[in-house]
Symmetry: C3
Subunit: 280 residues, 3 copies
Amino acid sequence: MASKLLVFQSDFGLLEGYVSQMYGISAQVDPALKMYDITHNIPQFDVWKGSYSLYQSCYAWPKETVFVSVVDPGTGTHRRRVVVLTKAGHYIVSPDNGSLTHIKNCVGIEEIREIDETKNRVKGSENSDLFLGRDVYAYTGAKLASGIITFKEVGPKVDVESIHSFNLSKPRIIGSEAIGSMDIVDGHFGMLWSNIPIEHLEELNVKYGDYLNIIIYYKRQQMYKNRVLFGQSFTSVEKGEDLVYKNAIGNVAIGTSLENFAHKYNLKAGMGWSISIITN
Amino acid sequence: MASKLLVFQSDFGLLEGYVSQMYGISAQVDPALKMYDITHNIPQFDVWKGSYSLYQSCYAWPKETVFVSVVDPGTGTHRRRVVVLTKAGHYIVSPDNGSLTHIKNCVGIEEIREIDETKNRVKGSENSDLFLGRDVYAYTGAKLASGIITFKEVGPKVDVESIHSFNLSKPRIIGSEAIGSMDIVDGHFGMLWSNIPIEHLEELNVKYGDYLNIIIYYKRQQMYKNRVLFGQSFTSVEKGEDLVYKNAIGNVAIGTSLENFAHKYNLKAGMGWSISIITN
Amino acid sequence: MASKLLVFQSDFGLLEGYVSQMYGISAQVDPALKMYDITHNIPQFDVWKGSYSLYQSCYAWPKETVFVSVVDPGTGTHRRRVVVLTKAGHYIVSPDNGSLTHIKNCVGIEEIREIDETKNRVKGSENSDLFLGRDVYAYTGAKLASGIITFKEVGPKVDVESIHSFNLSKPRIIGSEAIGSMDIVDGHFGMLWSNIPIEHLEELNVKYGDYLNIIIYYKRQQMYKNRVLFGQSFTSVEKGEDLVYKNAIGNVAIGTSLENFAHKYNLKAGMGWSISIITN
């Protein structure tokens, strides 16, 4: 009872037909598949962002949905090509290059299988590794989503702990301060998302309507400091005012009402970016 | 006999997974849904453009198609969240924030129902209003498109006249002059679309091949003045020449052959922009 | 036994609802159609690129897939509107304006039929030729993909040789030199694709690991000259180094590892661009 749902993510963009070719190969496997996207605008070669994006979006889809994620600066190197079954019941087809960092650390991995390319690869493509997105990842994802192969038939089991993962710092509470990393800039609205679960603010007795002292650092340098309202929505503040809020995945985020927070203060996110929330 | 067709529009862009999350939630409601888009590149918070875009595109789809439109600068405020049945037989799920202006004025509304969120909202999302696109609009649209709920089961009926609408001026004929508003710039080709129905030109005995005196105003300031051919297609004029023509929704529009009309003359559209067509 | 697969390509972009209107009309023809895209970001009016893009992507899709390609600078002129059956078993609905150049020359055309618009055109659209993408091309493609009409019912047969085609130079071998045209820049990664089949390098006894002298010309002017590795993937070279490789359609291509080759050396492709590969 396969899901028939195949959802793609890549850094290929939509200027060229690369995404279409992955769709086409998948439709050859099973024209009944329903194919959709997370995004193909992951910044080129940005494995961190690709990893985070899976974490951001997979949860919304039905169990058994098969995701194909291809963000792979070193496409063709002999890194493993794997399919992951997450603890939430989703399958993710991806290179084992760090793309599964947030899925492993924030969602959890039930089981990993390495793709057996003697079976799960487009026939005749063995001599070229230039378009693995089509020949291995989409093709295997399509076979799995269509029910042509089971998860076991992807290939041999691999140790979950052996998977390549970036170092993620854990969010902490120290006295009346919540500390965490700034993981991602929301590219469209410019909000910054931290890894601090909203529960950490609750432990510190923060309530909607409270003001918080927020400092954002890049390495040890202070990049932003402000006293900011913790509110339920951006209508709690005036246009141009900042707001701390609970984002779509239950973490602390910060943005500016009707403006682009990251552009306004010239902030980024990812490796080296952190946040301190002082509650009194 | 639900349509199973669910068509999205928003100002979310496609850089992030927001659209995908709306798709995912909808696929959870019913994986058999066929999901498509109008566009997700409505300029951010541009409710006018979102309203016009519904008017521009809904007509092409089958009756019973369910549209989900989320352009909502004040997401989370206690404006009503509604589903509209248009006189053309389409359903539109949207905030009642002006997004339905052109549908109301140019297509007509048969009936409006306010979404009863005790029933039509993702379970567990009640405490956060930050992603209503997913939790209320897409979720309700998916239930309606899949036939899980009927239109009645959306929630209580609302007075059609109570809906929030921008002021639209009506196109008029004064002597040998047709007057109207300039409603929209076609972002890709740069044509300007007026609200003057082609029938107004016919009433003035204008025929293909005639030249018209066109003046475009911003407020009372003249921004463009030219004598322009009224033709059936852009092949009626040379590259770089302007043309008045009948657009996809039957109104008078103006563009430049193989060039971007709006960029060329530095014109915009929307509130404050108007056009005068003098036929002799 | 129609494919039910309808795949679109255009230069309409995704800012406006034009693509959605083609989808909508097609869903009216048959809501069971599965609709996807190659891309809608063909540079505006760039028929050459549209032609090449069909060649680049169609092959990946199942036989019987119907493609609708609308890149038409002179939309509305009385050029023929046709459906092509390729030697690979795909259908392509397109204006006969050069868009089928690469399909004809590189894939081969089995049969062409001119669209009979007395039957295969949206009712009531006869008086406006401004949106043929919707009224003729998408509509006819949808009827064909859904099985409502057979290929024969598209309209009368047309001589394959009568089709409008750009002049394509043929790749040649002269002594130890392979010569060809530079057909396309891959917009996202900036690789340049030639029309030289990889077999020409094999005839010259080139093997993976060999270095080749590459010269790229615009008309008679030398734009790039370098000694470049012929490798299986970009991991054969360091970041910033160039690589000659076999592209997705079996031709010689050249790019830079983890950088944009075309931007780096200020190169383009298409008419007037050629490449010389000297193997010793």
